[in-house]
Symmetry: C2
Subunit: 410 residues, 2 copies
């Protein structure tokens, strides 16, 4: 995180000025837990959105993409629910997404077509609109600038921890704050997965410049994490800028850079929290790919390693099976020259070379094993082909992942 | 299997005339089990080969591809070993592959450059040539037309069963036999994985026509199975035709079709044996994709479903979570129209519609669960876009898969 950025303790989507939120229990989660949330901005937001690449898009994704293409400068609220994804629900599902958005708008006394809707949970089950509408009314009555953390809790599915954070930075004319909440756990993979992320800022902005900025940030954060290689029907990341700070970072080059850094810091923090909380995960793995001809090809190689179940099970077993890592890199669909490949691993700052020239570097096996036994493992692969690089994060694959997913709907 | 084909009980690569084989213990497997095998043809074979698409190719793959491009009509033998893959071993590895081939040629008194080499096992470890050469000499001294099953046993790694079979068919001028052995278990995925398959036939053939035939067969069999989505450095499938029957099926259209059916039957039988014996697998899943615009796109959709860990864990848990299956189809990178998607499931011959028009078909859940509890589950997805189709096979993902792969090298 750049030194000019300050982390806000217990920050969230309600840390930036002009945002309030609340959560409620609408009866969707069996245990009485929060399952519906509402985020509201006091004024209209310029909004950027990045959605799943899965061609089977859930109804809320279809609804939001349409709304953002029509009114990207007019968003006032985000209504969220867990437990039911409203995916594979046909025309009724789209009507239900619309009804949920309208319920949010009415509950918060907002104009029509100003609320986005985010859903996560089981696919193929109809969205129960009446209880969700009740929950949104309940939440609207209790909107608070302290409500962001509750909203993060409401959208949890198999997540074990709520995910929220915020940063701020000073400018000559005042403070700018960026905050966010997210949920992840299963189905996390590059190009998104059941990942919901809502970022807010009191910076001012235009949708036309906010969208490419947010796309760059998402590619380096939410699209650079992988839990299980599955991509979901519901992935959505949105960034709402309400301008309450009175500061438009786009007006100044250095400020624009600082603002993008702030959005990146929040998104990266949420992305890492998601992968560290992957279903059944016991370890976090950072994969740095260097020496690539392009950032895109570096990311592809990183993703191939990150989605390899053989690599992920070896890491679970603390087995420094570097051959599987090179083999996974080779399956990325990116041209590689095997005898230029170098692979290193580290747990702290000290790197151990596992392979060089595409063959074993005869590493100290005891040291290699010690690295792979740590909770956070860093891998660095140099392709020896160019100067581009990318970082991808993943977690290990454990018997718990299988147990969690073997019996989700029933 | 076409009715004109007869299965040979306990058949293998030595069922076709003119082939003999033997296996030996070369000290690679700790428990004294067979770990080296040698297959020899009495005469030169026209040979077709299909190799891994992973750009990190093991030394034996590099060696064999080179030999086949140079002398596809002159192959006499296949030398095989388990436990060490000779992958990511650099220039020394290629020299070791060459030395292994030469050891086989000398042991069986064959001309130079007539033996292929197949290795499987741990990546990145040097191939111990001297004990393997000893083992090949031992095997060469005991070559037998009954030796095919032992060869299948020698190449097993985490396989729990040897895989071998053979079929024959009558022609007006005599009998033609096709046989094969294979190993699989982990790392099985379309475009091959640590999959070794050796097919033999006493039909006559030209390399130029054998190669496209074998490519078609491999695409519909070994490239249509998936265990864990990983592709390996060592995948190799070869077909050796020694002409000992005196019959060249290519000379007659009907005969050519029957011959391809025979090769297909052997390859499919081996491929299904591999997927049913996937690491930790408890269930076999057949995925039929219909209504596609091309066979290639149908296969891509099938593969996307077959590699989805969320689908595979749901099947392990007997959870009829059809939404995950549609979501996996949507991630295939193939254009789909969601409201045309139909999904059915069956365990026996009776199909149950789970989803229609991309949404729930309100299936009888007890019946759906009963289907997903069977050992063999059939899924049928109709894309509603065209008339092409493809079949892909996979297995479930179980806690045992994780346990097997968490500690493989150590």
């Amino acid at each position: 995180m750049p030194t000019a950025l300050a982390e806000i303790p217990d920050g969230s989507v309600t840390s930036p000025r002009g945002f309030s939120a609340a959560a409620a229990h609408a009866g969707l989660k069996a245990d009485g837990a929060l399952d519906v949330a509402l985020l509201v901005s006091a004024t209209s937001c310029a909004t950027a959105g990045v959605f799943t690449k899965n061609v089977v898009r859930a109804a809320p994704v279809v609804y939001d993409a349409d709304l953002l293409s029509e009114r990207p400068g007019r968003i006032r609220a985000v209504a969220m629910n867990a437990r039911v994804a409203n995916a594979c629900t046909g025309a009724d599902g789209l009507a239900a997404a619309r009804a949920m958005a309208q319920a949010a708008e009415q509950a918060a006394s907002l104009p029509p077509r100003t609320a986005l809707v985010l859903s996560t949970g089981v696919i193929g089950v109809p969205l129960p609109v009446p209880p969700i509408a009740d929950g949104l009314r309940d939440a609207a009555a209790r909107l608070s600038t302290e409500g962001g953390a509750d909203a993060a809790r409401a959208i949890m599915t198999t997540d074990t921890r709520p995910k929220h954070c915020a940063v701020r930075f000073e400018t000559p004319t005042g403070m700018v704050t960026v905050g966010g909440i997210a949920k992840g756990a299963g189905m996390i993979h590059p190009d998104m997965a059941t990942l919901l992320a809502v970022l807010t800022t009191d910076a001012a902005g235009e949708p036309a410049s906010l969208q490419p900025l947010f796309r760059r940030v998402v590619d380096r954060t939410f699209n650079a994490i992988s839990v299980d290689g599955d991509t979901s029907t519901n992935d959505t990341a949105v960034l709402l800028a309400n301008g309450a700070s009175g500061i438009d970072p786009a007006r100044d080059g250095a400020l624009a850079k600082l603002f993008e850094d702030a959005v990146l810091a929040v998104a990266r923090s949420l992305a890492l929290a998601i992968v560290a909380d992957g279903e059944g995960a016991s370890k976090l793995v950072e994969i740095q790919v260097m020496g690539a001809v392009s950032e895109a090809s570096a990311r592809e190689v990183g993703r191939a390693i990150a989605r390899s179940t053989l690599v992920k099970t070896a890491i679970y077993g603390a087995d420094p099976n570097w051959g599987r890592i090179l083999a996974a890199a080779g399956s990325a669909g990116v041209p590689l020259t095997v005898d230029r490949l170098t692979l290193e691993a580290a747990a702290d700052g000290e790197w151990l070379t596992l392979a060089t020239g595409g063959a074993t570097a005869h590493p100290d096996l005891a040291r290699a094993r010690a690295i792979f036994q740590q909770k956070t493992i860093r891998l660095r692969i140099d392709l020896g082909l160019g100067r581009a690089e990318a970082v991808v994060w993943t977690c290990d694959l454990t018997p718990d992942y299988v147990r969690i997913n073997a019996d989700y709907t029933s």
